[in-house]
Amino acid sequence: QQQVKQSPQSLIVQKGGISIINCAYENTAFDYFPWYQQFPGKGPALLIAIRPDVSEKKEGRFTISFNKSAKQFSLHIMDSQPGDSATYFCAAESYNTDKLIFGTGTRLQVFP
């Protein structure tokens, strides 16, 4: 299965709160899991990515948690800021291809 399922579709968080976006996949050939941030009128921009040999990766306020046995991964945004308001896409890539399979996206709104 080439799909990546993403939830929730939209998320409203107060400034300073934690935003959590979840993704799940079926294809065990996937070996790279990036997250993208997209602002209106712009292309997706790589935010953070993880390989399945680690369970967590942190970059600043952004953390990916990865559960290989459950085939799930999630993005946590700590201390969410209004400037984080954007659409977030998870994606997956397998070792034998260079195409990305994107999730359906989560629209995050952070209110002051």
Partner: protein, 114 residues
């Protein structure tokens, strides 16, 4: 900071017409991609291109679509006979490596077929 540049930002075309979407990838990048995003939906892979050849294409990328790198700098996507369902945002991306996740995306061309 180097960036992928796409032109035009918005193109309106009549159904059945040919369109060419243009992209200038980052100069030292070797791998090139087109993705599309129908309004409100997920980003979908169309095609990857390396060494003047298509590396991979999706089932969306049928005979109506073609890509080329005519002059070593531009990377174009041609849709021969546009349909209403081709209306979408088209993103070009480029990468130094064949890791698609490391690609930089352009700002997109919004194609509206009427």
């Amino acid at each position: 900071e180097p960036e992928v540049t796409q032109t035009p930002s918005h193109q309106v075309t009549q159904m059945g017409q040919e369109v060419i979407l243009r992209c200038v990838p980052i100069s030292n990048h070797l791998y090139f991609y087109w993705y599309r995003q129908i309004l409100g939906q997920k980003v979908e892979f169309l095609v990857s291109f390396y060494n003047n050849e298509i590396s991979e294409k999706s089932e969306i990328f049928d005979d109506q679509f073609s890509v080329e790198r005519p002059d070593g700098s531009n990377f174009t996507l041609k849709i021969r006979s546009t349909k209403l369902e081709d209306s979408a945002m088209y993103f070009c991306a480029s990468s130094v490596t064949n890791q698609g996740a490391e690609a930089f995306f352009g700002q997109g061309t919004r194609l509206t077929v009427v």
